[in-house]
């Protein structure tokens, strides 16, 4: 009896070692869904097909809760090997990430053969904090102006000349309104966070400065520029007659009832399939500098349990490099502008419908430094929630813009000071 048990245990041990030696499993968690998730799946499938010694298990689909899950899995000692982190979440997440330049097994950036010069400097630097480097850039994404060419024609506007200045924009809106359509929607589906993004665009264009002071001791957005920006946003829904409170821009645009829409590059598959004859342009210059709202997805290695073997780190970096080097797929099907410079030279990408109709314009905005990233603070999501809550109330006409900013400022300061 004992012999059999010993034999069995030995067999299991040998089998386990063989299995370990053969295939390293890398878990890769993302917060992507739909077109994005498909694009990432495509990249990872290519990887798995061309590697026998490393296999990646991709878990994705959840946008909410993602960061909490990442942290909890680190705490529980069962983190994925590879993850995604928005640059603006770095400060919040830093305790839970492996410093790539000083990991327990050495400098992973060198070990993985990643060259910082392959990325735009600002994007690369966004992954740095307190002297260490944590992130590998994947993309820049952001908002642009989508417009309906047929509506432009019906309103007597030139379908190939979307408005790019305030004057042109006002004229275009009035013409579209007169033709019997919704003129403009500044915020995708009008969720509070989208309204806040629209306000941020106007705020930055006006030169309102930063939303918070340098040390994040207090809010600084309650200034004349902030007020003008919010008043403009409120007027779009309440005074100009360009849209209605609660209107869903995605739906209105897809239904061919909306002239112009601010939306992210992720709107591309919907626009393409909608049957609408659409065009794309950079965000117009309303107030001085044509900034737009955007962010950057980057790759990260969550803090691994002590004693994780160098082979696992090495394999993870191999996956990371593969994802970056194949990010032209990411751009083509997901619509986000790849951060890896060589990706933007891929001929299939350059010839693709997405790139020629909208991607190149977003890329231009990004290259010109016109994409403003969100705030980066340990309690950033709470601060943003506070701001957008009052912005939404102002847009709904429940409080004045001045009151909205004052209340948002008070609540942000409370968050910054208190527990």
């Amino acid at each position: 009896m004992r012999k059999i048990v010993a034999l069995a245990m030995g067999a299991v041990l040998v089998w386990g070692m063989v299995a370990l030696g053969e295939v390293l499993k890398i878990e890769f968690n993302t917060l992507f869904h739909e077109a994005d998730a498909k694009a990432m799946e495509e990249i990872i499938n290519l990887f798995n097909a061309s590697h026998t010694n490393i296999q990646v298990e991709l878990i994705q689909g959840r946008w909410a809760q993602y960061y909490a899950e990442l942290r909890l899995s680190v705490i529980a000692g069962t983190p994925p090997q590879l993850g995604i982190c928005h640059t603006y979440r770095l400060v919040e997440m830093v305790d839970y990430l492996t410093p790539l330049d000083a990991s327990p097994v050495g400098n992973l950036i060198q070990m993985g053969g990643i060259n910082p010069a392959d990325f735009p400097k600002a994007t690369w630097d966004a992954g740095e904090l307190a002297g260490h480097h944590y992130l590998i850039p994947l993309d820049t994404h952001g908002w642009g102006l989508w417009y309906n060419k047929d509506i432009f024609a019906a309103a007597g506007l030139d379908p190939d000349k979307p408005p790019q200045t305030m004057g042109e924009f006002m004229a275009a809106c009035e013409a579209i309104k007169a033709a019997g359509y919704y003129a403009f929607h500044p915020a995708e589906d009008a969720l509070p966070r989208k309204l806040r993004r629209a306000w941020e665009i106007f705020f930055y264009q006006l030169g309102g400065g930063a939303l918070f002071d340098e040390g994040y001791t207090k809010a600084t957005f309650n200034n004349p520029e902030g007020l003008v920006a919010l008043q403009f946003l409120v007027d779009i829904f309440n005074n100009f007659g360009w849209n209605i409170v609660g209107g869903n821009g995605y739906n209105q645009f897809t239904a061919g009832k909306l002239g112009m829409l601010f939306a992210g590059n992720w709107f591309y598959p919907t626009a393409r399939d909608s049957g609408v004859n659409w065009g794309y342009a950079p965000v117009p210059n309303f107030f001085g500098t044509p900034y737009t709202w955007g962010a950057s997805h980057q790759l990260c290695i969550p803090l691994q349990p002590a004693g994780t073997s160098p082979a696992v780190y090495q394999a993870t970096m191999e996956v990371a490099r593969w994802v970056v080097e194949h990010s032209y797929i990411w751009t083509m099907s997901g619509g986000h502008i790849a951060a890896y410079k060589q990706a933007a030279e891929d001929p299939t990408l350059l010839a693709s419908d997405y790139w020629t109709r909208s991607g190149n314009l977003l890329n231009e905005m990004a290259q010109k430094g016109l994409v403003k990233f969100p705030i980066n603070h340990p309690r950033g999501s709470e601060l943003e929630k506070a701001i957008e809550t009052y912005i939404e109330l102002a847009v709904n006409g429940k409080i004045t813009p001045a009151a909205a900013l004052a209340q948002a400022e008070a609540e942000c300061n409370k968050i910054l000071q208190g527990r």
Partner: protein, 273 residues
């Protein structure tokens, strides 16, 4: 005059029923309408043509079939598990003597309506530890030992005449024998009623499933619908077709088992023993 009097109740009842069914019909209709008809003002009651494009798109871009399967597995696991453990426990509370029994039952009873919300955070840690996060088992386990099951079954068992037990005991049955030969055969209606209750409960559970299941392949129907709705592109044709497809199984089961379900509720509503 008498004719009107005879027909008025019908008129009122059917008018109310019609109002009640409109939202469901409207969703079902939207699911098959082409986009221009969906977004038409005023609404088109009768679409210019019917299309299955939304449903095709639903299956092409989301693992909808998988969600259906996950929901079925989850609900079946919970139902089977809950019936099993609740029956044993209810039998013990109803028929066996042991010290502390009544105190234990009272404890469970007081916790009967305990909101799961309090425990989601510890549960979440636990599931990570046990490596059950993002699995159907992790989603199912907290739903199995529901006090309400023990409460209902016990109440029903108490109404089964004790003489039957005694007769079985005299024939040499152990407690297990009493349970399998007397109690269970006499309790089929309450099993059916509680089974349907708990199946429906698990089928519809949202809060914990939302937290526990994270990859698009692993989620159940209610959470899957949330994934579609929470995605960047919102498309009413797609989302109503998802809602419609998600209600189809309920509708089919309901059409077949209507009387039984309604009688089951009367039985499990806690006021009839």
């Amino acid at each position: 005059m008498t004719k009107i009097k005879a027909w008025a109740p019908y008129l009122v009842m059917y008018a109310i029923a019609f109002l009640w069914v409109i939202p469901t019909l409207w969703v079902a209709e939207t699911a098959f309408k082409p986009n221009p008809d969906i977004f038409s003002i005023p609404p088109k009651w009768f679409p210019s043509r019917l299309t299955t494009a939304h449903i095709a798109q639903l299956f092409a871009s989301w693992p909808f079939g998988r969600w259906l399967l996950n929901s079925l597995i989850l609900a079946s696991l919970v139902t089977a598990g809950s019936l099993f453990v609740s029956t044993l426990a209810a039998f013990s509370f109803a028929r066996l003597q042991w010290r502390g029994r009544d105190a234990a039952f009272l404890t469970i009873l007081v916790f009967m309506l305990l909101p799961l919300e309090v425990s989601v955070i510890p549960l979440y840690f636990m599931m990570i530890r046990f490596r059950l996060l993002n699995t159907i088992y992790g989603a199912a386990l907290p739903m199995i030992a529901l006090p309400i099951g023990v409460f209902l079954l016990r109440q029903f068992f108490l109404n089964i005449p004790r003489d039957l037990d005694d007769a079985a005991r005299i024939d040499g049955c152990s407690s297990l024998g009493v349970l399998t030969r007397v109690i269970i055969p006499n309790s089929i209606p309450v099993f059916a009623a509680y089974g349907m209750y708990i199946f429906n409960y698990a089928w519809n559970e949202f809060f914990w499933s939302l937290i526990c299941l994270r990859s698009a392949q692993k989620v159940t129907l209610p959470v899957g619908l949330r994934l579609i709705q929470g995605a960047f592109e919102i498309n009413y044709g797609l989302i109503t077709s998802a809602a419609f497809m998600a209600s189809l199984p309920s509708l089919v089961v309901f059409l077949i088992l209507r009387q039984r379900i309604i009688r089951g509720i009367a039985l499990s509503s806690g006021i009839k023993g």
